[in-house]
Amino acid sequence: MTQNSQQGAEAADTSAPIAIEVEGLAKRYGDFEAVRGISFQVRAGEVVGFLGPNGAGKTTTMRMLTGFIPPSDGVARIAGHDTFSDSIAARRAIGYLPETPPLYPEMTPRSYVDFVAKLKDVPRGRRSAAVDRALELCGLTDVRHREIRQLSKGYRQRVGLAQAIVHEPAVLVLDEPTVGLDPIQIREIRALIRDLAATGGQTVILSTHILAEVDAICQRVVLIDRGRKVLDQSLAELKAGGASLEEVFARAIAVDEAAVSFQAAGADGTTGTAGAPGADTAPGAGNGAAE
């Protein structure tokens, strides 16, 4: 089923409308550049893995995508809506699972997801059904009346996911959705994400540093390192090269690091970017201290 849906998405790829569009997105905190000019596009129905080592800028980028923090530079559009100038419309189209699930420990999953459904403007007539559906998809029906504080980490993660999908958003932004789950739960959540994309036509962008996860659910990979995009390719293309994903990613990051140190050495930085596609030309001072 996975293979089939991948093939299907591959074929529909070029005709589907663009769901996520990111152009030169950058975020600076004082002197530190967390994200330096990332650009990529995701078409509707695609599942994209957002990969990178810790501190690469994944969470910062996702926070800019969802409008939680404004970008220092560049634009992000969700379903055609600018996340900054047209943020309400953009936010309506997004389901977002942050790095730590945003839960109220004293609420039950049912009342919590219902609260989120109200925030996301799910029409009153459909709300109860939508909440039950989200709880069921995430396997929470049995614990829906327990207090969230009593639930295990895995269940809390699922409550976070239920919250993200309750209003059936066009775009799902998931920041490390399977972290802290046991292997069986991981398999269930991955299957759920695949289903949402395959049957619901939802676009998914998820961050992770587990390569097996990318292999299991993603059709395409955007790899970032030190706030810059170093690789953007479909999984099929990556695998066609014959090398394992680990080798490909390790190589891409090594190339990027070489480029960075070359740039730093060459001060003016006029030549160093050739090895790193999409790399920013600014030779930022804080490179070494970044990680």
């Binding site: 977002y96 730590t100 945003p102």
Partner: protein
């Protein structure tokens, strides 16, 4: 705008499953009961004294409104300064501590809706507190004949002060993720706003030899809640008092909104 109700009702429900709400309401009720009883006994003793000394004119002047209700509400207002911060401290700071601010700020709602939702949750709570005071005053109507209009003005005054202080609490809660800091900041702001401002001005004024009725002094006195409370408790309501409470609430809510908005840019 219906998100305001959504946020306010969720907040109120969470408040009422936490022990803080019940601790505050219990302390408030016990203190209100004690003060009420004390005021009642004081009133009685005063009457007996006047009767003993045959001060008939004094007895004539005695009435429940001026000699019982006014001091009673006046002292409850002071208790409010200590208890209210415990209710408002978590309004926004816990959202930050839980990470739920990320949910609110990425939902299709405006920051005003968040701020007002929190504000109205606090308003709901202080309405309950005022109602408890109202309950004790109701007892007076069973056994005596206080003036209804004046009594209601007193209660309205207590509610207005509380509402204004909730706005202060929302602001203090928006600047930190730490509830204790929010509590202390609210308390300090309420003390300043409630009673310290006029004192501080008097001290500096007398030091610098300026007249106490200068424009600055009267402006600062206008800024403190104390003068308006005194005025309203006498049963006098004028637009200056009402404007004060409206402006003070609006200023602190606007500040809260600005703080939340600017935090995203950091």
């Amino acid at each position: 705008m219906r998100h305001i109700t959504t946020i306010a009702s969720r907040e109120l429900r969470s408040l009422f499953v936490s022990p803080v709400a019940y601790v505050v309401l219990t302390i408030w009720s016990v203190i209100a009961g004690t003060f009420f009883l004390a005021s009642l006994i004081g009133f009685q003793e005063e009457m007996i004294q006047y009767q003993q000394y045959q001060m008939l004119q004094r007895i004539e002047e005695m009435n429940l409104n001026d000699h019982l209700i006014e001091p009673f509400i006046g002292s409850m207002w002071v208790i409010l300064l200590f208890l209210l911060p415990a209710i408002t401290m978590g309004l926004i700071s816990t959202e930050k501590a839980n990470g739920t601010d990320e949910l609110l700020l990425t939902s299709p709602i405006s920051i005003w809706e968040i701020v007002l939702g929190k504000f109205f949750a606090g308003v709901g709570f202080v309405t309950v507190m005022t109602a408890i005071v109202g309950f004790f005053l109701g007892i007076l109507f069973v056994y005596g004949e206080p003036e209804l209009g004046k009594t209601l003005t007193g209660l309205a005054c207590l509610l207005l002060v509380s509402v204004t202080y909730v706005a202060v609490g929302v602001f203090a809660s928006s600047v930190t993720r730490n509830q204790l800091i929010a509590f202390i900041l609210t308390f300090v702001l309420l003390l300043l706003l409630g009673m310290m401002l006029p004192f501080m001005v008097q001290i500096t004024m007398s030091g610098s030899g300026m007249g106490q009725d200068s424009g600055l002094a009267s402006a600062v006195t206008w800024m403190s809640t104390g003068s308006h409370v005194d005025h309203m408790l006498q049963g006098l309501v004028d637009t200056s008092d009402l404007a004060y409470f409206a402006i003070a609430s609006a200023v602190f809510l606007l500040l809260s909104k600005t703080v939340i908005e600017s935090a995203r840019w950091r």
